[in-house]
């Protein structure tokens, strides 16, 4: 009898086993005119170029919008080039920039791109006062003066007047940033609500002249772009671009190996190593602008001691990290300007030297060590770096507690100057040296009430009036060679005296199918380009 019940149950199992027998016909490759990318896009909170300030949003905007000044993706090292502005001239006093618009360019709506659109877009970005607006307002524009300072003289001519003289390249570089995107005025204003310049609508829609138009965006899921066949730099070869939110490196790798995607942008060191021998795949490496650093809060008197600050610079296993768990993902870099930037400093004076650090600590009166806390985001590579530091520091008698949390938790404390030692990353906001100099080496008012929360020097309560002056002078210097030397000098001093220990610069490793050509990540100065891709 029992045998019978067993048989019956076995029958039930067999019947149910037949259920998942749906055979999936494996797709060998994506279509020749379609690009499929797996990456993490959960940082996109808006598609309005006046608001976009995160990596993935910048990537999308770089393909949906154009700027007056732009880059040639095939020659990024040549620096800024004419974009929607065909040419420009600068007045003798260095304050007035006159841009001539490129003729015959249209938005994807069909409307022509004119100086009135450029005027609208830049004024709008100033008036909306979103986070990246400082990239424009640092030239002295504000809601009251912007009407006079940014003006379309006629459909072909835009005139921008800054509050004082700056290095010419500074304004031009800033106009290449996402916030400099030119929006179709007619389309945006057709969707205006309560004087918002179409902001609510543009958060989830686009009105640009870029190589692509937005087909759909599903937050945390995907976005899909359609090619703009009349793009002024030539119709893109990829007619459709699918960008899928896939966080897991292992999942991205499987999809890439199977040919279901063309590009995987977040592969871990292990997965990169695993696909290295696969002849159907390729790994591209590209130096990005992101810098990994630790900073010591100067409100803590122990860290205010210059000897202690120096000791920490000898207590990092720079090469050890770059050659082990961060292999291929970071290079050792010890200055605040990313490599490839104007004024880059390649010198790496510090190595791991526990004995030297111990001597410095003893001289400072901390021969018996100290207890510190490292505040860090709970992202895997950062936690690994924190653990490496914790390990090395213990050899010098420093007991470090690691406090990890979500980005918003940790950043809240950092911005309120309540941290002890912060371990984090900083990415440049626009391709001019002032972007990082302004945050790492400029602090005009160290008072708590000043609330200069955007500046890292202020967050770490580092008061350095002399260096602040030098940074202000460098951004006004018009001779490029002199300007570069000024930044080198500032960085040398910064390396020696600052409470920042710059450790590493990011390398992006992209996994691609072997037939994908021309995928440009934008290096340290720009974002990704889809319209250059061919298969």
């Amino acid at each position: 009898m029992k045998r019978r019940s067993l048989l019956l149950a076995a029958g039930a199992f067999a019947a149910a086993s037949a259920l998942p027998a749906t055979h999936h016909a494996a797709i060998a490759a994506t279509p020749a005119d379609t690009l499929v990318i797996a990456t993490a896009i959960d940082d996109i909170v808006s598609l309005d170029p006046a608001e976009i300030f995160e990596f993935s949003g910048g990537d999308a905007a770089n393909n949906l919008y154009d700027t007056l000044v732009t880059f040639d993706p095939n020659a990024l090292s040549k620096g800024f080039q004419p974009g929607l502005a065909e040419s420009w001239s600068i007045s003798n006093d260095g304050r007035t920039y006159t841009f001539k618009m490129r003729k015959g360019v249209t938005f994807t709506s069909g409307n022509p791109v004119t100086a009135h659109d450029a005027e609208f877009s830049l004024r709008r970005a100033v008036a909306l006062k979103k986070t990246p607006s400082f990239i424009l307002t640092q030239f002295g524009f504000n809601a009251d003066t912007v009407m006079d300072q940014i003006k379309a003289v006629d459909a072909d001519t835009l005139v921008i007047t800054t509050d004082k003289k700056y290095a010419q390249s500074f304004l031009l570089n800033c106009l290449t940033a996402t916030i400099g995107s030119i929006v179709d005025k007619k389309t945006a204003m057709a969707h205006e609500k309560d004087g918002d310049f179409g902001y609510e609508w543009l958060k989830t829609n686009t009105a640009g002249s870029g190589a692509y138009t937005l087909h759909s965006w599903k937050a945390n899921e995907s976005y899909v772009l359609n090619a703009n066949p009349s793009y002024w730099r030539g119709a893109p070869s990829m007619k459709r671009v699918f960008v899928r939110h896939i966080q897991e490196s292992a999942t991205q790798r499987l999809l890439l190996e199977k040919g279901d995607i063309d590009v995987a942008r977040n592969l871990s060191t292990d997965d990169i190593a695993a696909i290295a021998g696969n002849k159907d795949l390729r790994v591209d490496e590209d130096l990005r602008g992101r810098i990994m650093y630790i900073s010591l809060n100067q409100k803590d008197e122990r860290f205010a001691n210059p000897k202690v600050r120096e000791a920490f610079k000898w207590l990092v296993n720079y090469e050890g990290m770059a050659n082990s768990f961060l292999k291929g993902q970071y290079v050792v870099h010890q200055a605040f300007l990313p490599l490839t930037y104007l004024g880059e400093l390649k010198e790496k004076p510090y190595t791991l030297n526990v004995a030297k650090a111990k001597a410095l600590l003893a001289e400072a009166g901390y021969g018996n060590g100290m207890e510190v806390t490292i505040q860090v985001r709970n992202a895997s590579e950062r936690l690994e770096i924190a653990q490496s530091l914790q390990n090395i520091w213990s050899q010098a008698g420093i007991t470090a507690k690691i406090e990890s949390g979500t980005a918003k938790q940790i950043l809240g404390e950092y911005r309120a100057r309540k941290h002890s030692i912060y371990l984090g990353a900083w990415g440049p906001d626009y391709p001019d040296p002032h972007t990082n100099a302004d945050t790492f080496a400029h602090n005009p008012d160290n008072a708590d009430e000043a609330k200069l929360t955007g500046k890292l020097a202020w967050r770490n309560a580092w008061d350095m009036p002399e260096m602040t002056k030098q940074t202000s002078a460098a951004v006004e210097e018009n001779d490029t060679a002199t300007r570069a030397t000024m930044y080198v000098d500032i960085q040398r001093e910064h390396q020696k005296t600052s409470p920042f220990v710059v450790m590493l610069q990011k390398i992006e490793q992209t996994g691609l199918r072997a037939n994908v050509k021309g995928f440009v990540t934008g290096s340290a100065i720009s974002s990704v380009y889809y319209w250059t891709v061919t298969k």
Partner: protein, 354 residues
Amino acid sequence: MATVSDDVRARRAISPFSRSFWLSLLRLLASLAVTFVGLLFITFLIGRVMPIDPVLAVVGDKASDEIYQAARLAMGLDQPLAVQFAYYLGDVVRGDLGTSLLTANPVAEDIARVFPATLELATLATIFGVLFGVPAGVIAAVNQGRWPDQVVRVFGLFGYSMPVFWLGLIGLMVFYGVLGWVAGPGRLDIFFEDVVPQVTGVILFDSLIAGEFEVFRNALGHIILPASVLGYYSLAYISRMTRSFMLDQLSQEYVTTARVKGMSELRVVWLHALGNVMVPLITVIALSYANLLEGSVLTETVFAWPGIGFYITNALLSADMSAVLGGTIVVGMVFIGLNLLSDLLYRIVDPRAR
């Protein structure tokens, strides 16, 4: 002797429109409303006292203080907690769940997109869990202590103790990577996206409604693996519970009586004993289903499945409270709904409860 008025009263008592019916319905609705407000308030409070700054989620790390303060004002975060909650409740009553900070979409719209994805997955997983778990539990109970019992135990324990995350990845590597039997992560191949209009949000239904069988096949190919992985997990639980309920029943006197009367073992086990196990089993299945409907963040991450678990977790980590609370309402409704449903099923399978 029955009077006319007695008769009328008796008829009223059974009429669905009687006063007592309306009263009990009102009582039920009132208790539901109180439960909901309490649930929302606690979630709201937890979200607000967490050391996470929702303003930073919107303006980003680099915002100046001026921009930060302006955003904080715009989000109403300068108001006392009670006032913020009252505003929120007012909006909910008007049917407005607010706008998500992270996705810039109305929360109701987001949930209408992510919940069907989870619903589809959880339902298939539960069907899988019940189809395999109940027979496995019965076999284990009938063969207590012998090898079939051990096999079910080991198989079940494996499913229960293996991290779903790991199981998912291994499943993907084997069935998608090596064998190519199933489709990869995601709900559909990208080329099928937006092919069928959204009616229910459940792609398996929507594709059939639109008559797009190719899309249906593709969706099935995508869902089968994550549903099996989640289903394996619920199978393990359901089979263990079935086994212990069955053991309890098989030692009852009515089973012995039935056997003595010469009834076939098949009838004794599968009809009489299993029939009596149904009541507690329904609760177990409903709870396991409800758990799956909350969303399984890890499974959703591995399979790039845009479900409600991932949505709520992401929102919680950024203190995107409108999204978190919207999700809480949905999950709360699922639990209450399933409770009511299992109550109803009791009445059907157990005459004493009628």
